[in-house]
């Protein structure tokens, strides 16, 4: 199940430089490239001649040349050269997709191009904000995208999957969690008060005593999760809005379905302490990356079990509240998108 009329992250900006990048998105092969003037383009990754992926080709100035027979396509997707003949068949063109470069990511619109409004791109300004240090990265995940959303909206798993980095039992045993559901969003707020800091927080925040810790997870469909996380020495007023003497971070996540069983996972870690210290940015990033790789192992194993028996029943627990609300929003949006598409098709007949 994919929502199509949304902006998705297709690539890190640094992935699309001087050669075409092939990437499957929502089950469709896409090639991303920059023409000679730096302009971004996204095509269906399929030559209309004999269907070789155009990502196997190369850039020749402003045009993309197919590796097989050298057909060339300009930025509009139109074939502009067929080697050995003057005539260019009228239907020798490839489908194009709207693309935008923002927040060090390349965004793509896989749905109706007429509805592609860059103003709808989810806000990830921390990636380019000078008041924050940040490092983005990419993981390929052998799992359905909604398993990753579930994971990020339920942070009780930190106590078990990430006990050596960002988790401890305080997250499960002493937590009051608030799940706010709006028509198109979920906000999960969790405070753990006067509890030991987890190992990563001790390393980068140098805490020596108990802390007041917050985790505020902002979900926007289809799969954008922005986590406001941090801690201050306990009793210094963070729950009342006075965040001093501690650390604040943003864990930023944009998941793009590749297929029903695989995902592109774009994530980043931003920090508000020593924002211009590249060593600190790298240290924070590496700490969180360790935890993320632990998550990827979980997703992969989950997907393996789900694929073996897709209809196996699942039990829900209280900690699933945020993830369940997100799934209900996606179900409703998918239904609405399907109905709108059907109505549009009917009107066109």
């Amino acid at each position: 199940m994919f929502l199509r009329n949304y902006w998705y992250v297709a690539a890190l900006d640094e992935e699309v430089r001087d050669r075409p990048l092939g990437r499957m998105i929502l089950g469709e092969p896409v090639v991303l490239f920059r023409s000679g003037d730096g302009a971004l383009h996204a095509f269906e990754d399929r030559c209309p001649h004999r269907q070789l992926p155009l990502s196997m080709g190369k850039l020749v100035g402003d045009v993309l040349q197919c590796h097989y027979h050298g057909l060339r396509f300009d930025g509009s997707g139109q074939c502009v050269r067929v080697p050995g003949q003057d005539h260019i068949p009228q239907n020798a063109r490839v489908r194009t997709y709207p693309v935008v470069e923002r927040y060090r990511w390349i965004w793509i619109w896989m749905g109706d191009p007429a509805q592609a409004d860059p103003e709808q791109i989810c806000d990830f300004h921390w990636l380019t904000d000078p008041d924050w240090g940040a490092k983005p990265s990419y993981l390929h995940v052998e799992a359905n995208w909604q398993l990753i959303v579930d994971n990020l909206l339920d942070l009780t798993h930190l106590a078990f999957v990430h006990e050596t980095t960002i988790g401890n039992m305080a997250l499960v045993e002493h937590a009051a969690v608030k799940v706010q559901r709006s028509p198109n969003g979920v906000l999960v707020t969790r405070w753990t008060i006067d509890q030991p800091a987890p190992p990563t927080f001790v390393k980068v925040g140098k805490f020596t005593g108990n802390v007041d810790r917050w985790q505020i997870i902002d979900y926007a469909p289809p799969a954008f999760l922005r986590l406001d996380v941090g801690a201050t020495p306990t009793g210094t007023g963070a729950p009342e809005g006075r965040r001093v003497g501690g650390i604040g971070m943003r864990n930023l996540n944009a998941i793009t379905p590749e297929t029903e069983a695989t995902s592109h996972y774009f994530w980043a870690q931003a920090h508000d302490f020593e924002p211009h210290n590249a060593d600190m940015t790298e240290r924070v990033f590496q700490q969180i990356k360790t935890a993320f790789l632990e998550d990827v192992a979980v997703f992969t194993a989950q997907q393996r079990m789900i694929s073996l028996r897709p209809d196996a029943p699942q039990v829900d627990i209280n900690a699933d509240a945020g993830g369940m609300q997100a799934r209900r929003i996606v179900d409703r949006l998918y239904r609405e998108e399907q109905e709108a598409t059907a109505a549009h098709a009917t009107a066109a007949v």
């Binding site: 009780t156 499960v172 045993e173 002493h174 937590a175 009051a176 969690v177 608030k178 799940v179 706010q180 559901r181 709006s182 028509p183 209280n318 900690a319 509240a321 609300q325 209900r328």
Partner: protein, 68 residues
């Protein structure tokens, strides 16, 4: 009683209006936030005298249907 894992659910409509809270407790209960019914109301509305009754807003009913 020490706090264990407890979830508060809050539903917000498209007009921005919020429902009162639903609490899921670690012992399996669902607790709804509402207003107690006074003796006068029980009398006037012919409601049971001894039952634990609360009055809830209609957004809370939407919340229960949408979120639980």
């Amino acid at each position: 009683m020490p706090l264990n894992f407890r979830v508060e659910l809050v539903w917000q409509g498209s007009d921005g209006g919020e429902a009162s809270s639903i609490f899921l407790t670690s012992d399996g209960r669902v607790i709804l936030q509402g207003r107690g019914i006074s003796a006068n109301e029980r009398e006037a509305l012919k409601l049971p005298r001894d039952a634990d009754l609360i009055s809830v807003d209609r957004n809370l009913i939407r919340a229960i249907k949408d979120m639980l």
